[in-house]
């Protein structure tokens, strides 16, 4: 390759000073995007990401999301939020802080194509409250805070804890069902997604937030 051509490639940013660095950097970016895409598709993780993103949007108002056993179920996203995307410059972003999930920064990132991949939920069901971390791919219950058992005896305590763990799992399932019912209805594309997109862009007018606890 002539010196002039080498220089032209360098000026176009196709090569670095060593003649190969720019190409390697491009390959790394492509690899990262491919990996992000694979994570998005694996086990239909996008479904979980859309659900967690929708929960963030819907939980900002004080309204319960559904009822379970005739009692209202409401929630807030708290503390830590992991966002993931499949394109662009930012493929993953983590925010921390008591009200960080509802910050304009997060809404902006969502508007640019990132979705919530992992979130910590504070659930209120009747007089009971729970906290749990969920991730979009597996929906495993992680680091959950369960209501304290009332029982004194060890055996009774164990049974009560198992029952409360099942109650929490049932609440998570109820949220999944509520989301899926909406997502599989014509209202999802017609009204819910446009409203969700509008909310992402509407960063100047945050809605009234509830306090946890």
């Amino acid at each position: 390759m002539s010196k002039q051509r080498e220089e032209a490639r360098f000026l176009r940013g196709e090569t670095g000073v060593d003649g190969a660095a720019a190409e390697e950097a491009k390959d790394k970016g492509e690899l990262e995007r491919n990996k992000a895409r694979e994570q998005f598709l694996r086990g239909k993780a996008w479904l979980g990401r859309e659900m967690l993103t929708w929960l963030l949007y819907r939980s900002e108002s004080a309204e319960p999301l559904t009822t379970v056993g005739k009692l209202p179920l409401s929630l807030l996203l708290v503390d830590r939020l992991v966002l993931r995307g499949i394109g662009g410059d930012v493929l993953e972003s983590t925010v921390r802080g008591a009200t960080a999930p509802y910050s304009p920064l997060v809404r902006n990132a969502l508007d640019r194509g990132l979705l919530v991949h992992q979130a910590r939920l504070h659930l209120e069901h009747g007089e009971r409250s729970y906290e749990v971390t969920l991730d979009a791919e597996y929906f495993d219950i992680k680091g959950a805070k369960l209501p304290k058992p009332f029982a004194d005896e060890d055996d009774d305590k164990l049974q009560e804890r198992l029952e409360t763990s099942e109650e929490l799992a049932a609440l998570v399932r109820a949220l999944i069902e509520t989301f899926l019912e909406l997502r599989s209805s014509p209202a999802w594309a017609k009204t819910e997604v446009p409203a969700l997109k509008q909310w992402m862009r509407d960063v100047e007018k945050p809605r009234k937030k509830r306090a946890t606890g």
């Binding site: 996008w46 995307g85 499949i86 763990s165 997604v193």
Partner: protein, 207 residues
């Protein structure tokens, strides 16, 4: 133990019984007790080649393998644990011993050892080192609600969870279906086509 106190981390599954091995609800506790006993934990023999042992133990006693009804059932739940004992020999320790052996071999035979000789020496070194390193013991708890047909596996990491899931499925001839949006959608009868990504949310059309 996380199943009893502290923060709770578990995965929830719907239990599907294998058609051939299906047991009536009434006989399920006895069948569970039998399967637990058949796959009970047996301590690792430090003199054997094995570096790992795993099997079922009672929830309240990591050495208990009697699985009496009073220890295995509480209310609608069957409760037990999987114990995994492992000797972890650091790779660096094996490498160091192998290098010393190789130097001695060259000195004695005036040639480098062959591949087979090296592999045999490595096995011998592993076996010798095994007694020098302590056993690492882990417990993963399981609760299975016999009334609603759901099980919860209490393991923090995905790798451990996969291992526990395999062990439970094999021991009881069951399939554990995870509870996640995709499996709930199937249960609700939502068509696969309706589950496609929402393009405007993930910017899929731009990628």
């Amino acid at each position: 133990m996380p199943i009893q106190k502290g923060s709770a981390s578990f995965s929830r599954f719907r239990v599907e019984h294998d058609g051939k091995a299906k047991v009536s609800k009434k006989d399920l506790p006895a069948a569970i007790g039998k399967s637990l006993a058949a796959h009970a934990f047996e301590p690792l023999d430090r003199k054997s080649e094995d570096e790992r042992a795993s099997g079922f133990v009672e929830l309240a006693d990591k050495n208990g393998t009697r699985f009496a009804a009073g220890d295995t059932f509480t209310g609608p739940f069957a409760v037990f644990a999987i114990r995994v004992d492992e000797v972890r020999i650091p790779a660096a320790a094996i490498r160091a011993e192998l290098e010393t052996w190789e130097q001695g071999f060259v000195k004695e035979n005036e040639r480098k050892p062959g591949k087979k000789e090296k592999n045999d020496a490595k096995q011998e070194i592993r076996h010798t080192l095994k007694s020098r390193y302590p056993l690492a013991s882990k417990l993963y708890e399981v609760n299975w609600n016999l009334e609603n047909g759901h099980a919860q596996l209490w393991a923090g990491s995905r790798k451990a969870l996969d291992e526990v899931q395999d062990a439970v499925e094999q021991a009881f001839s069951i399939k554990l279906v995870p509870i996640a949006p995709v499996t709930v959608a199937a249960e609700m009868g939502i068509a696969e086509k309706a589950l496609a990504p929402t393009p405007s949310l993930s910017m899929l059309e731009e990628n």
